[in-house]
């Protein structure tokens, strides 16, 4: 277990290092850093000063050093548009994105696992085939287009739910979230469902495939031969086996949801990090882009780490296997 965690930590460190190199070279070498990091409206003297301040006249190795140093102290420069520190802007938007991604994840679990289990247990039933057809559709539907259609149907045509914004936010236990107010809930429903659709399909397919495979395993048959009730066989023997991969994948998918919220947030004007990123790309607000990328890289590394450890805790074969050998 120790070696396992150390291995993962080392790998994470390498990932962060490599990604910082890529972002650095992307911004400072491939593009023109003067264009990218300095407000285009500055005059010549300002530019000269900024170049010196940013160390752009120094050798490349030294530049990277300053980049890392700045990044470590949380300094990615100020946004051209808002005039505020870029990192602060990104972090401010983070709770809204997390809230959206979290809600979508819950939806994926709540819809995906039961439907997948059902379809796996009765593969030939018409209802199961419908579920699977639906999951292929959910897999194929382009997220952004579904978002538009959701707005058109539920906001424009039916007028049931609001189309844009985050709605009212309440603070409970120091966490402010729109999940705590009715208005907020009505606002989050459409975007969260939009974001969750792909994941619901994914979870259905994963759960079904796991069920189909497990159901023919000898241990299930042996459990039947022991005379266990069908409920115990399904909810203990089967589910415990298939949940290990599903939980692992879902953990990794949380990061994916955060990344994909870029699309959903743009459509539903959800004030999260993703919308900030797209706005910044379109307005060439480079410091914010850099800050976003670094934050998201760290986030992913963290998620991967947690999921790996979680997996090894869930699966006794990994948990105990390592310490024994």
């Amino acid at each position: 277990m120790t070696a396992f965690v150390i291995r993962r930590l080392l790998q994470s460190a390498v990932v962060v290092f490599v990604m910082s190199l890529i972002v650095f070279f992307g911004v400072n070498v491939v593009g023109d850093p003067v264009d990218m990091l300095i407000n285009p409206e500055a005059d010549q003297e300002d530019i000269e000063r900024a170049i010196r301040a940013l160390g752009l006249d120094r050798p490349i190795g030294e530049q990277y050093f300053y980049f890392v140093k700045g990044a470590l102290s949380g300094d990615f420069g100020r946004s051209f548009i808002f005039g505020e520190p870029a990192l602060k802007l990104v972090l401010q938007r983070m709770p809204a994105t997390f809230e959206l991604a979290f809600t979508a994840l819950v939806m994926a679990i709540v819809f995906g696992i039961p439907l997948g289990l059902y379809a796996g247990l009765r593969p030939n039933a018409l209802s199961s085939k419908t579920i699977m057809a639906g999951s292929i559709l959910g897999f194929s539907l382009p997220t952004f287009w579904v978002g538009l259609m959701l707005i058109m149907v539920f906001a424009v045509m039916l007028g049931w739910l609001p189309a844009t914004g985050r709605g009212e936010v309440a603070t409970i236990l120091g966490i402010s979230s729109s999940l705590f107010t009715l208005d907020g809930l009505s606002h989050i429903l459409l975007p969260a469902f939009n974001l969750a659709l792909l994941k619901i399909s994914l979870v259905i397919r994963l759960t079904r495939a796991g069920t189909r495979e497990a159901i023919y395993q000898d241990y299930i048959k042996f459990a039947r031969a022991k005379g266990l009730s069908e409920n115990r066989i399904i909810f203990v023997h089967l589910l415990k086996n298939i949940l290990i991969p599903v939980v692992t994948v879902l953990g990794l998918e949380f990061g994916n949801l955060v990344a994909f919220s870029v699309v959903t947030e743009t459509i539903f004007a959800w004030p999260g990090m993703g919308k900030l990123l797209i706005d910044s790309i379109q307005q060439l607000d480079r410091p914010v882009i850099v800050a976003y990328l670094i934050v998201i890289v760290l986030l992913f590394v963290l998620i991967n780490l947690i999921v790996d450890v979680l997996y090894s805790v869930l699966d006794p074969r990994v948990r105990i296997g390592e310490s024994q050998t």
Partner: protein, 309 residues
């Protein structure tokens, strides 16, 4: 329960004849056993055909300014044009016939998706095969890079690249290839590793066949099945991803109106109830992706060695 040919040579050599089928023909007949897959495959052919021959089929060249009239903008489906043909799917904000625009858009979407898919496949499978063949440090290094890349979602990497490079057909193809090659590399490598350990490879080596021959003549053909499945899935992904990026305004420029851009352009009319400008290009995109995914799904079943008799 095995239901394979069970006759003995010493008894009835000719009885086998009726069951003779090459793997390819068996594959084809297995594939078309499912009517869903058959319909999907036909639909995909129709879509490709429509995209290829767009100039011949479409009533108007939507990007020839002489043929487009702004006065005819935002007409609902079924309206008549001044030229006397019907706007089957209505017109967009600039007065273009949507049906024609979709056919032209399909051309761009499909070609960007397919071409970048092929490039990614070539790069990815060579890298994967190299990894499996070399082993040791080369393999470890390659697979680390692959793992690293696969731990980040495709859209994020694409956004990162496009944020640095800017818009353009070449740029988005670079982004799509960068995003996809790792999937191919991983698939080919893992299959090749499994195949490499099988006894028929040991037998080939025992027979004194060269490494090259074993790799290309024995291992590679056995890696094709999973590769084909990944090709379909990834092509569908590439098309969807390009559309998404273009919709976000970071993918293709306005001069290359793919389906994603068409949908994006219709976004502003959505709230005023003019649904068709976004709706129909979306349906076209959906049908393309669904048909490819359904074909891929059936391929997965047919080519799955565990389900093979």
């Amino acid at each position: 329960m095995t239901t394979t040919a069970n006759q003995d040579p010493e008894i009835a050599p000719t009885e086998l004849a009726g069951q003779f089928q090459s793997p390819f023909r068996r594959f084809v007949s297995d594939f078309f056993e499912s009517w869903v897959a058959t319909v999907a495959f036909a639909l995909f052919l129709v879509i490709v055909f429509g995209a290829l021959f767009a100039p011949l089929i479409s009533p108007q060249d939507p990007y020839d300014l002489a043929q487009v009239d702004v006065m005819e903008s935002r007409l609902p489906p079924g309206s008549m044009s001044y030229q006397g043909y019907t706007f089957l799917l209505g017109t967009d904000g600039a007065g273009r016939d949507l049906f024609s625009a979709i056919l032209y858009g399909l051309r761009i979407s499909l070609s960007v998706g397919v071409v970048s898919g092929i490039i990614a496949m070539i790069i990815g499978s060579s890298v994967g095969l190299t990894a499996a063949y070399c082993g040791g440090r080369v393999e470890a290094l390659i697979m680390r890079i692959v793992d690293l890349q696969l731990s980040f979602p495709a859209i994020l990497i694409a956004l990162m690249l496009l944020a640095v490079f800017g818009k353009g057909v070449d740029k988005i193809m670079i982004a799509l290839v960068t995003v996809q090659w790792a999937y191919y590399a991983r698939t080919v490598r893992s299959t090749a590793i499994v195949e490499r350990q099988k006894e028929y490879v040991e037998a080939a080596r025992c027979l004194g066949l060269s490494h090259k021959r074993v790799l290309f003549h024995h291992i590679l053909p056995n890696c094709l099945a999973p590769l084909i499945v990944v090709v379909t899935v990834q092509t569908a992904h590439a098309i969807a991803l390009e559309a998404t990026l273009s919709f976000l305004g970071v993918g293709l420029p306005q001069t290359e109106p793919s389906l994603g851009l068409l949908i994006s352009n219709g976004f502003e009319y959505m709230l005023s109830g003019r649904y068709w400008i976004s709706f129909f290009p979306g349906i076209a995109l959906l049908l393309t992706i669904v048909s490819i995914n359904l074909v891929g799904d059936q391929l997965r079943d047919v080519l799955n060695p565990r389900l093979q008799r």
